[in-house]
């Protein structure tokens, strides 16, 4: 059927655009981790300058989804796909925003250096790795249209939350001993908070993918067990 073919082409283009955006955000997050762990201000500036590209993707995907809805009046799986792509593009944009925010902390790092020891105590690398794996696993789920891993990804969000809470406790004690580091502690707390928010947005994308593929709504369900 002609209409069906046309429809498939259109959906394929939308998905392709989404995978480009996804790769870009993933690389932003990886570079941001690298920049943060090695105090690489050069790399941090690159992350900051590439943030605009992510915004452009979001606008493009949203307007393409709007056009598709207006012209194709999609239903069922097609409707669920565009609705979820619109929300995912919003979530990815927020994730990239936080990555940019963390990169900005790196560029002002000179004023209040955070020690490698503190980074280790706070398990910041683990936090980065966890949110990066959440993001790449949810991307894989969308590409393969398989939601088997969704429970695992959502569990990682709980791990990130725990790391954030523990980190916060740790910093509270730390600042009492090392009051000259108070500015650094505040900055670091903001970084932890951003990583925790990135975890939340990764969860949102997973929930959208489950809505698209399994037509189930996971959102705001308290118990994920």
């Amino acid at each position: 059927m002609e209409k069906a073919k046309h429809n498939e082409t259109e959906l394929k283009a939308l998905k392709e655009e989404m995978s480009h955006m996804w790769r870009l955000v993933l690389s932003q997050l990886q570079k941001c981790k690298q920049a943060y762990l090695t105090n690489d201000t050069e790399l941090a500036r690159e992350v900051i300058s590439r943030e605009k590209r992510v915004n452009t993707f979001e606008l493009k995907i949203d307007s393409d989804c709007e056009n598709y809805i207006a012209l194709f009046a999609p239903v069922a799986v097609d409707l669920r796909l565009v609705l979820s792509l619109m929300k995912i593009s919003g979530a990815l944009e927020r994730i990239a925003d936080f990555a940019e925010g963390i990169a900005k902390h790196v560029t002002i790092e000179d004023f209040h250096p955070i020690t490698a020891k503190l980074k280790e105590d706070l398990k910041i690398e683990t936090m980065f790795d966890t949110v990066i794996s959440m993001l790449s696993d949810s991307f894989a789920a969308l590409e393969s249209e398989n939601t088997k891993l969704s429970g695992k990804i959502l569990q990682k969000d709980d791990e990130v939350d725990t790391l954030f809470m523990e980190g916060k406790e740790f910093l509270a004690k730390y600042v009492q001993k090392e009051s000259s580091y108070s500015k650094c502690v505040l900055e670091t707390l903001l970084v932890l908070r951003k990583l925790e928010r990135i975890g939340d947005h990764c969860s949102n994308t997973v929930e959208e993918i489950v809505f698209y593929i399994d037509a189930k709504v996971l959102k705001h369900v308290k118990s994920r067990e």
Binding site: M1, K3, A4, N7, A73, P74, V75, A76, V77, D78, L79, R80, A215
Partner: protein
């Protein structure tokens, strides 16, 4: 309100409806969709025994309306068709005046005196959203009306005898978009007082007007569910393929 139980229907040897069971609630709009020839009209016609008019047909199972089997020997088919009215794809007004078209059923069934009939005609034309357009030319021939107006006249004619159910077989498929949206709005408003069952090949129309949707294929009722659910997350692969246009 309407209940089909294990309905099988045959045109001679041809098995046109296969083991259909469903329930339709009062004051709701139910839409039937599916590829042409899948049995939508056949099923609709069963509900007011229009298939009785076709020779060589056979029905198994039962159709209950308000708990009563409409195929029971005691049922008077004329009374039944008064209670379960029907509107067809092509507007089919009688070659009479606008007033006489709507008054027809009332007169045949001796429902009321002259004044009562007049009042009922006016109310029916108002209910079918046609009154303002025809109130000054009630004695003009129905054929002077546009296609969309003729269809609303046919709806007024069906409403005049105070049915509880109105069956509509592709009521807007011969109409332009503006007339179509008037009919859809009408259907939406009528459900406050009537139970409506509509067959449509226009999926978006089913989505817009109905509370529940049934998807037929090759004589089977593949899926029957809340319209919202059918169009967001249908449970059967065949339904999904059909409504998303990935068919054949």
């Amino acid at each position: 309100m309407i209940e089909a139980k294990n309905v099988n229907f045959y045109y001679g040897d041809f098995h046109a409806l296969k083991d259909i069971s469903l329930e339709i609630e009062a004051n709701s709009v139910t839409a039937f969709i599916g590829p042409s020839g899948c049995g939508k009209s056949t099923f609709l016609r069963l509900l007011n025994r229009m298939n009785d008019l076709i020779a060589g047909t056979r029905l198994e199972g039962s159709c209950l309306v308000n708990g009563k089997n409409i195929y029971d020997k005691s049922v008077d088919v004329d009374v039944l068709r008064k209670d379960i009215g029907m509107v067809f794809q092509k507007p089919n007004p009688f070659p009479k005046s606008i007033f006489e078209n709507v008054a027809y059923g009332l007169k045949v069934n001796r429902m009321g005196n002259k004044a009562e009939i007049s009042a009922r005609v006016e109310q029916s034309l108002k209910d079918s959203a046609l009154w303002d357009e025809v109130k000054d030319k009630l004695n003009k021939s129905a054929y002077e009306l546009s296609g969309g107006q003729q269809q609303r006249l046919c709806i007024a004619r069906a409403l005049a005898v105070k049915p509880s159910v109105i069956l509509m077989d592709e009521p807007a498929s011969a109409l332009d978009p503006i007339s179509t949206s008037k009919i859809e709005e009408l259907i939406y408003n009528l459900k406050a007082n009537y139970t409506i069952v509509i067959v449509t090949h226009n999926m978006q129309q089913a989505a817009r007007v109905s509370d529940k949707t049934g998807f037929f294929m090759l004589g089977e009722l593949i899926e029957f569910d809340e319209t919202k659910r059918m169009f967001i997350s249908p449970q059967k692969k065949q339904t999904q393929n059909y409504i998303t246009g990935r068919f054949g």
